[in-house]
Symmetry: C3
Subunit: 135 residues, 3 copies
């Protein structure tokens, strides 16, 4: 089964969509299987991270923004805005696809894990994610 979901972002940061994904997995009727994700963009990415303490998320965003800076004189790809090239680099350093096993009808995530869309641009609206569920 293949379907798509949309995550509202709107600003830089990590946006959790675990519950949207849970709903799709439940609806599939698959008991033991695999849920694979592709984000259809190169200036946003996917990550599985701690969803307990929001401070971890904030530090992750700030650390990445310090590593991959805007207005770096190295960049030649500047026509699409000062946040565009850093966004491509951050996407390359994180994940564009993920594969999460399904066990007993649920995503087999750890206790503190959530699935996130990591928005790397300042003003993007929605991001499309393709979801494949197989047995």
């Amino acid at each position: 089964m293949v379907t798509t979901l949309s995550v509202k972002t709107g600003r830089q940061g990590l946006f959790e969509f675990t519950s949207q994904l849970d709903t799709i997995v439940s609806g599939s009727g698959i008991n033991n299987g695999l849920c694979s994700l592709l984000i259809q963009h190169t200036s946003a990415s996917l990550t599985i991270q701690e969803n307990a303490d929001p401070s971890a998320k904030v530090d992750l965003e700030n650390w990445m923004n310090r590593l991959v800076q805007e207005n770096d004189p190295l960049y030649t790809h500047t026509l699409e805005g000062e946040d565009d090239m850093p966004a491509h680099i951050k996407a390359a350093l994180t994940s564009t696809t993920l594969s999460i096993p399904i066990m007993n009808g649920r995503l087999a995530l750890g206790t503190w894990q959530g699935v996130y869309c990591w928005e790397h641009r300042h003003h993007a609206g929605h991001r499309q994610i393709v979801v494949h569920i197989g047995s």
Copy 2:
């Protein structure tokens, strides 16, 4: 088929578990298929790396420790220990899920490739990995 395996770590570093995985793949009876992995933690990760010369592993660990330092004044997420926030960042920069094709009943890894659990904390004991095998 979905199962779990546990990797003993205990200290920071790369811990190979290719042979544990080989045993699961052999036992599955799948000849051509896909073996997908999820580590159920956000302060340890997965990587496929060279398993021939141990010096590559050591350099990889040291390089990553220099890039993502403890006690960085940027961190606000500090209650769980000085190695916790760096661990989340390292997990985001490497992989939480992997998908390895199975060919002729074996993981289709390259000659020098091994599958590793990358422990990012100083004193974690065991890490749980969920394994899905499909055809």
Copy 3:
């Protein structure tokens, strides 16, 4: 179905192989499914990136070369050449495996996405990629 493909590289950089992959997907006859990839090397990697403006690719390569430098005094793994240890680090920071959903008989990539082999060595010739296609 499991098969392999070979990407000619020869120098550092991003080498697109989306059309080779499209041909394999079309030939499989799978309408809705999953295409999973493993690169059988630890000094080259996989990434999904923008394939519209070549300047994004160039900046990505240059940024990564600045982050992960040759002849770093930290390295002890130096016998295989000055580009070898940086290549392993770059592989760990990007992806060794990818999973791309297939929708209506085609890879469900976004409009601007291409699939690339990222060669991290100066003189490697060809890189082998294992492709699994399932339903």
